[in-house]
Amino acid sequence: MTLFPGVLIASCALPALLAIVSLIRRPNHKACAVALLAFGIICLSVAGSTWRQTVLWQAPDWLAIGMVPVQLTGDPLSAFFMLLLATVCICCAIYSPDYLEHLKDRISHRFYWSALFAFVGGMAGVLLAGNAVVFIVAWEVMSIASALLVLSDFRQQRAQKAAINYLVATRVATAFISLGFLLMYVRFADWSFSAWNFSDKSSWPAAAFLMIGFIIKAGIWPFHIWLPYAHPEAPSPVSSLMSGVMVKVAVYAALRFFVVGQLSCQPLVYAVFALASVSAFWGILFAINQRELKRLLAYSTVENIGLIFLGLSLSLWARNVGLDDLACVALLGMLLHCFAHGLFKSLLFLSAGCVDYSAHSRDLTLLGGLSKRMPLTTAFFVLGSSANCAIPPLNGFVSKWYLYQSLLRSAYTLPTLCDRAVCLAAIGVLSAVGALAVACFAKAIGVAFLGKARTSQSGNAKEVPPSMTLAQLLLASACLVTGIGASGLLPFLSPVLTYSRSVVLQTDVLASLPLCQFAVSFAVLMSAIFALLLRNRPFKYKTWDCGFGSLSTKTQATADSFAQPIARIFTPVLHHSLTVDISGRDRRHFPEKISVEPSIVSLLETRFYGPAAYGLGKLSQSMAKLQAGSIHLYLLYVCIALVILMLVGTAIW
């Protein structure tokens, strides 16, 4: 029993220590990876030891933040997310040393590792925080460290821009969260979470502020703008940690406060439900129109986070109308999707990192033909994509199935017709999102891995070193196991559900989902087909070229041309346009060169965030004009201040 607080402390203290050490001494990748692995194992033990019980650690008096004592709490809810953190950390640790070799001089070792340790430590801190002050400290450490990690490739202008964008988003989120915490503190006169709940009307403003903060961090529409910039710029292990775990930490926070804290504010729940649906659709719509592999994955994260918050809001909604079973199904779906997305998105980011490692590019227009040169990575990417597309029997399907179940159930159990119609409509949206996800990942795989290599770089790509393959293999098998074995693993979630004040369903909802049977029969059928029908080595010949002779690689579909039909349908939203440039002496009849450049515009950025930033810059500029350099003017300010102070001072105060 005495070991438990020990691992709790270690999971926060070890990374802090490592961060400082690696800042002072120039670290080497292998040693740091081992340290990260150790951290992952500690997290695993934290998850293990707090899976069924709550462990509380009150720090000694000298350890405090301001006036507030440090307090760590490990409970089943945090254990669940700790498990995710541990899994991804361990895989990233295995993956990192070899991967980072190819970034040699582009990153600063000290800063990378120092920030990485601060980042994972911050995440552990958020998960284990027992009161609001510890929470916000860990939250900020996590955010700032991850912003630094986005800046890893610091010579690139893009990394800089991404880091600043991200920092803005995350700091604004923190501001909202701080306001929420302060409101709650005044309401309950206590920083400890255990004293807080949101069932009372007076805590609704705080709930709204907190919710805004969390959804900014999680990347829900319309606050997702930072995400597609930040995730791709970071090195792949960081992207997978950010996308796989960090956004889940925001989800964890929402769970911690609103599900455990029993949020009863129905308007807020409606708003989150709507935003989550929009975000799922918006995310995948933009994902399919990307031509950069990691950016595509980042947008797909927006989609998945939308699904997660859909489940979260539905669960709150159901609980507010007293449908406990439904709430449980939605909560289960959402928790499973958190975990599933954490696994498969990490896998995808790691595979994308392998592509970057071998083909030195993440730009889909420069890739192609990797499946023959890197068959293992391709297989992992296909598996990860299938999980993301919710293809049974992978884990993505299980969680999405729960979400569908909860929506379907709410379509016949919620009290009013309007509520039911909304949920049924959400099923429609979800299915469209699912189909788009299939299209999106088919495109990503098709353009990046299949067909012919578009450049010599991707033509000369080699399979990645075994350690990187091993990391992917671990995640891939986790995706598979948590999918096929879902019904066996579900009972392990009952402590989390109980802790989240949810009922634990007695009947097995999964009974109508024979995933194991499906997997077995699929495997049998596949082996039968390969053994009986496709056993002969095929005759190799070139692709059909209409008799024109060897096909140029340019005749293959590009990322943009694949997505064009869908982009065209959504022209009003995407402002999709084509710039066609035909050149040649007689360009009408004998064009020598034709270039087509499609473009999409993110309306949020051009219509809302852009002008807002511009306005702020203007405001600052007009302030700067006050400081014009003339001493006479400055003296005049003194006089004006005097007059105002006297007038206000003697007249009012």
């Binding site: 700067a624 400081q627 014009a628 350099g629 003339s630 001493i631 006479h632 003296l635 005049l636 006089c639």
Partner: protein
């Protein structure tokens, strides 16, 4: 409405300041400042006689020696060194500025009568009017003059105004503090003068409106 001699002196001090606004001639300004401070020293001496207060007399002496003799001397020395005769222009024309400072005198009267000071002990409104007017005029001078030296003079006038206020509206400021203030002002003027000297050396002029490169 009768004015006591003390009040007359105080008001005449204020008048000298107003006259200074009217002239851009530096040497004249410095002489007028010297005269003003001498009057101030006289006023202090009168008060010391009236209140039978020896230490006030010491202050009067110090004031006379340091502020009415040493400071003008120093300023004249600077003028000689930097070869400047007149202010290189004002932000608003001098006559208007002078009228403005007369306007400030009026405002000072209003403000002074608003002051919640019981006028029992002979320290009536004229003196506080003079004090406030001096402060305003000093500020005005600093605001409209372009040359570093004029700004120093403006600051000195302001300082005088505050001193007049302290002298006439309160009694018995501790000697040590009076002396300390005087010394501080003196040191400030010295440093400012030296800086003005440097400005001339670096910029070939002592026009402070040209010192506007540091901005935003």
């Amino acid at each position: 409405m009768t004015l006591s001699p003390l009040e007359m002196v105080a008001l005449s001090i204020a008048l000298t300041a107003i006259l200074m606004v009217g002239s851009t001639h530096l040497r004249l300004n410095i002489w007028m400042f010297a005269g003003q401070t001498a009057l101030l020293a006289g006023l202090t001496a009168l008060y010391s006689w009236q209140r039978q207060d020896l230490h006030l007399f010491l202050v009067a002496m110090a004031l006379f020696v340091l502020k009415a003799i040493a400071v003008p001397k120093f300023l004249l020395f600077i003028i000689q060194q930097v070869h400047v005769q007149r202010d290189s222009g004002t932000v608003i024309p001098t006559p208007i500025a002078m009228h403005l400072s007369i306007g400030f005198l009026g405002i000072s009267y209003i403000l002074a009568s608003q002051l919640p000071i019981p006028h029992a002990n002979g320290s009536g409104w004229p003196s506080s009017t003079a004090a406030i007017s001096l402060v305003c005029t000093g500020l005005l001078l600093m605001l409209i003059r372009r040359i570093a030296l004029s700004q120093i003079i403006g600051f000195l006038i302001m300082e005088n105004g505050i001193y007049v206020f302290g002298l006439t509206q309160t009694t018995g400021m501790p000697l040590l503090i009076e002396m300390g203030v005087l010394l501080d002002v003196l040191a400030g003027v010295m440093i400012a003068g030296l800086l003005a000297f440097r400005i001339k050396k670096n910029f070939e002029h002592i026009d402070v409106t040209m010192l506007a490169e540091l901005k935003e």
